[in-house]
């Protein structure tokens, strides 16, 4: 039965604009969908391969900056700019991942080293004023256009962005789903179970950890490409440890052991501060409390309450 949940959810999501009237509701859901995509891609690395990465915000932020800079300053076409952005993210992930996995850094050490790399990249962004405008961030005014039979359509307006965000989520979800359903997912599971055991069962642990890290990071980059253009604003905060933590909270809240859990986590955590009116400080307190509560009380998350874990295969 649970197999059909994502499909039913997609059908509901496609039909939702028929019922949603207010632009602010659209905005919340759009943010939720984009952040849910980030959470889904993060869970490929964390929940399915067992690696606690703090690099996710960096991948997300770097891609956001590169697309925005290429489009705003160099007048590139948005869709073309996605290419170099994702290629850069892939290269960064490849280098960072290769270093960490070659030296067999695990758990805490992997977390610390990815955090260190992420901070270094953030410092470059903060201090490279001439290109990134430093701590002030950059406004993104350009609007990507989509080809249509009746001429190009600008990606603007709550409704259009809602569907764009949904498309990003679907792409992320389907890529992860395809990867996990294939032999690669089995290798990831073997690594999460026990690296040594995986290796003796013929799994190239280094290669598959790297693969997981790169795929997850590139997908985070994909979300970043769109995110900047949706908000119209990019700041170094996108690459911060706090951003990585928000993603981790979403994944834990939704449930680490499934692909769909993080979607719920992302939507719920994004909507929560809007449903109950909260100041920024209270929102952070709430996030912290949720993180702790989920770990101590419901380690399988919201979706885990309904579903038997099937994530290994």
């Amino acid at each position: 039965m649970m197999r059909f949940v994502p499909l039913v959810a997609l059908a509901c999501a496609l039909a939702a604009p028929l019922f949603i009237r207010s632009d602010s509701t659209f905005a919340i859901v759009t943010f939720g969908l984009l952040l849910a995509s980030l959470a889904v891609s993060f869970n490929l690395i964390f929940g399915f391969t067992g690696q606690l990465s703090f690099f996710h915000a960096a991948s997300f932020g770097v891609a956001a900056y590169i697309t925005a800079i290429l489009v705003s300053d160099y007048r590139w076409n948005f869709w073309l700019a996605i290419g170099p952005a994702l290629a850069t993210v892939a290269m960064l992930a490849l280098v960072v991942g290769a270093i960490c996995f070659r030296f067999k850094l695990r758990e805490f050490y992997f977390a610390v080293v990815t955090m260190a790399f992420s901070e270094m990249i953030r410092l470059v962004v903060v201090n490279w004023n001439s290109v990134t405008n430093g701590t002030l961030g950059m406004t993104v005014t350009a609007q990507p256009t989509l080809w249509s039979p009746s001429g190009p359509v600008a990606l603007s307006g709550a409704r259009v962005w809602y569907y764009v965000a949904l498309a990003v989520l679907v792409v992320t979800y389907v890529v992860c789903q395809r990867v996990l359903a294939s032999w690669i997912g089995r290798c990831f599971a073997a690594i999460r179970l026990n690296e040594q055991l995986g290796e003796t069962l013929g799994v190239n642990v280094f290669l598959y950890k790297l693969l997981s890290f790169v795929i997850g990071s590139v997908l985070a980059g994909l979300v970043g490409c769109f995110y900047g253009f949706y908000t119209g604003f990019i700041e170094p905060q996108y690459l911060s440890i706090t951003q990585s933590l928000d993603i981790i909270s979403m994944v834990l809240l939704g449930g680490v052991s499934s692909l769909f859990g993080p979607v719920i986590g992302g939507l719920v955590l994004t909507a929560l501060p809007h449903v109950i009116d909260l100041t920024a400080e209270l929102r952070i307190i709430l996030y912290g409390a949720i993180l702790i509560f989920v770990i101590l009380v419901m380690p399988r998350g919201i979706f885990g309450l309904f579903e038997r874990p099937h994530h290994a295969v």
Binding site: L52, L105, F108, V112, A116, N127, I284, I285, I292, L296
Partner: protein, 285 residues
Amino acid sequence: MIQLIIGQLLNGAIVGSLYGIVALGITLTFGITGIVNFALGAFMMLGAYFTWYGYELIGLPYPIAVIVAVLLVATLGLVADLGLFRFTRNNLVNGLLVSIGLISIIEASVLLTWTSTPKDLSYVLPGSLRVGGILLPKIKLAVFAVLLLVIASTYLALTRTWIGRAAFAYAQNPEAAALMGVKTNRLQTIVTVYSTALAGLGGALYASLYSLEPTIGAYYVLKAVESAILAGIGNTIGALVGGIIIGISEGIGSVFLPTAFRDAYGMLFLVLILLFKPSGLLGSK
């Protein structure tokens, strides 16, 4: 120039010993409970704010304000241990995430209560000593001395007292220590609370030197983790040495290298250590 460098050396050593005292807590907690407690940074920040509140707003004498702040922080540490960390022992990832959740809560609570406006203590101990043409502020010397004293006595306590030896034995071999009658749970609680108290003291002393902001905790705990890793996790005296090395290299580094990337050098150094000598600079392997 010489004057500048000596000044930076002293500043580096003091900041470094502040890193060191938090790093000592990190190392002790990790050795006994298997948790890397990032929340120690938040406790340090709380220690600083409590001291500021006691000294500046209530008007307690500084030493009393420090003691009260440390006791308050230790109590909070006890609550956190019994309410949270007890359930994540020996689960590194969960412990890490819970401690990070705790940081967010404490940091945001302080923001709510005292806003992000920097707070300063009025002069606790004015005046300077002149040593060979160089002015050394008395307060910095006093803080440095207290930090050294506390870290040294912690080391002595670990090696000379029963509870210290039990902790040491436990870190080496938990099962054997349990067989020898070490009460694991109580030991873990004591060490966790002591580590929080150390962090609180670091914060209380910090308050006499620099401005208080809610973000200092996160900043200092990252440096402390760097120091602990630099020394090799589990090495008590190493935690201080590691902290001072980082403090001094930052101080000296900022004279010769662009300051904007000061934190990045530390990160890079940390990564290199972890890759090539994961047991730390002072480690045996």
